[in-house]
């Protein structure tokens, strides 16, 4: 019965505390919402940038030209092996006949050149479309050593290196900005709650002096922190979902090369993440803010 009274009191006290300190509560909720919208917005931008870099990486191709005298079984075995390699997307064999057909279709007005020749001069090739541009240099070197099978290996190394550079830079910069922004978000939210708790430090002291346990004092503040964080994060999550739904199609239309995620799971996960961050930071912020005033 006593526990029920205490639980009811803690929740009631939290709601009463929020209402009676509504200016401070409103400020804390708005601050939390703004910080979380900023963080979630940047996470969405970072996701788009990462997708763009990945898409750029997928454009990295490697072509190995097959010697005419190479045995088909050898080539097939190599193709099968390449398909199992990490970072390798598609592996396609282009026969001499296919190469000729492609040439003819691309250079319709220059077919005279081929008529002069008695035989098909174009080599067969193995074309690799790569998911991860960082595997290109090693793979190219490996194929170049197979001199009995491949005549030449064409690698756009300058492009690959540039893609790898952009990719690494985007990931590092994205991580640094996210860590910094997360830190700033936590700092601002926790300090907003600390100011709210500081304004009520006398209340904490009095509760301790009339015989309240630490847990009893903390309870309403932790509940208040969770409610402030939850409402702030809720506003941020709703704003995020609405803004994303409005902005994604417009951005996709204007900058068609940007792979903006229209996946509803992504936005939903981001909204859930925002809510969790709000609740956890709100509760923990209050928990630690109250602690310093408990040693009465």
């Amino acid at each position: 019965m006593a526990r029920l009274h205490v639980a009811r009191y803690l929740l009631g006290s939290a709601l009463t505390g929020l209402w009676r300190n509504r200016t401070m509560t409103g400020g804390a909720i708005v601050t939390t919402a703004i910080m979380l919208i900023t963080l979630a917005g940047f996470l969405a931008i970072n996701d788009t940038l990462n997708q763009m870099v990945t898409a750029l990486g997928r454009k990295s191709n490697l072509i190995a030209y097959v010697r005419d005298e190479a045995r088909p079984t050898q080539v097939t075995a190599i193709i099968d092996d390449l398909r199992t390699r990490p970072g390798v997307g598609e592996v396609q064999f282009v026969s001499k006949e296919d190469a000729l057909a492609i040439f003819e279709s691309r250079f319709v007005d220059q077919r005279d050149i081929l008529d002069v020749l008695q035989s098909n001069p174009l080599p067969a090739s193995v074309e690799l479309r790569l998911n991860d541009p960082s595997v290109v240099p090693d793979l190219a070197q490996e194929l170049q050593t197979m001199t009995t099978v491949f005549d030449d290996v064409v690698v756009p190394l300058d492009v690959v290196e540039e893609v790898i550079g952009i990719s690494n830079l985007a990931r590092v910069a994205g991580s640094v900005i996210i860590i910094a922004l997360t830190g700033v978000t936590l700092f601002v939210i926790v300090n907003t709650i600390r100011i709210a708790v500081f304004a009520r430090r006398q209340e904490i002291e009095i509760m301790k002096l009339v015989g309240a346990t630490d847990w009893f004092v903390r309870g309403p503040f932790v509940a208040e922190g969770a409610i402030i964080g939850g409402i702030g994060a809720g506003i941020a999550a709703i704003a995020l979902v609405v803004l994303y739904a409005q902005a994604a199609p417009v951005v996709t239309r204007i900058v068609s090369f940007l792979p903006v995620s229209t996946d509803t799971d992504f936005v939903r996960n981001l909204a859930v993440f925002t809510l969790l961050v709000g609740l956890i930071v709100g509760s923990l912020g209050s928990y630690f803010s109250v602690r310093r005033y408990l040693s009465v």
């Binding site: 009274h5 009811r8 009095i206 509760m207 002096l209 015989g211 346990t213 009465v296």
Partner: protein, 233 residues
């Protein structure tokens, strides 16, 4: 009930309490007299364990308060009621909510809590102001609310710091009568004051402090005999 042995407490270079030894028996009523800065408030804060002595020992109910932490300190606080000089009422809580706080922290609620709060508010004659906020009350009424909060959970010890300060003689007498009434229930009561009028009106023990030291420890108002500095135990 309360024993102080050679207790010293300093704030920086200021020695607020200087080698005080005294004892206050269970159920006793004692005044702590002295001018501002004599060390009365510090002495009360040492008894309620808001402060710890730099030297000496403070025993309450036989236990050394310096050894109390966490749950044992909470238990000590629940045996005491304290009326602070500045009342320390919660500004955003009503009179009833302020008075109910010591019961709430003990896990009480419902009809028992309501009736206990009502009873104590009737005792201090503020039953009609239970829904008011402290800012809506006079200074004397705020003191009464603070006393009601201090005694609502039936403490063994009541410590009051200047409960009649800035009050008219009539209101001060009302407060002192209330404290005597509470003491009559067996609550050990220590009242810090510099109101000589109130002290002289009553035949009670007076511990006179000056410059952090106990100058005298006597019964006044009649043919009182000086008591030893460490008093009855």
């Amino acid at each position: 009930m309360i024993v102080l042995q050679s207790v010293t407490k300093s704030y920086g270079d200021v020695r607020a309490v200087n080698g005080v030894t005294l004892a206050i028996s269970r159920g006793e009523f004692a005044f702590l007299m002295g001018t501002n800065g004599a060390g009365k408030t510090t002495l009360l804060r040492l008894i309620s364990r808001e402060e710890q002595p730099d030297a000496g020992v403070v025993l309450v109910g036989g236990g050394n308060t310096a050894e109390l932490t966490g749950p044992s300190l909470t238990r000590l606080r629940r045996r005491m009621g304290v009326v602070y000089q500045d009342t320390r009422l919660l500004p955003n809580a009503t009179v009833a909510e302020n008075v109910a706080l010591p019961l709430r922290v003990r896990g009480m609620g419902g009809a028992t809590l309501t009736s206990d709060v009502k009873a104590v508010l009737e005792r201090v004659r503020l039953a009609d102001k239970e829904s008011r906020f402290p800012r809506e009350l006079s200074g004397g009424e705020q003191r009464k609310v603070a006393i009601a909060r201090a005694v609502v959970a039936n403490p063994e010890i009541l410590l009051c710091d200047e409960p009649t300060e800035s009050l008219s003689a009539e209101r001060a007498a009302e407060i002192v009568d209330l404290l005597l009434d509470i003491n009559a229930d067996g609550v050990t009561t220590v009242v810090a004051t510099h109101d000589t009028g109130t002290v002289n009106r009553l035949r009670r023990r007076v511990i006179h402090m000056d410059d952090g030291c106990v100058q005298s420890d006597t019964l006044v108002g009649s043919a009182a005999q000086p008591q030893p500095a460490n008093g009855p135990g």
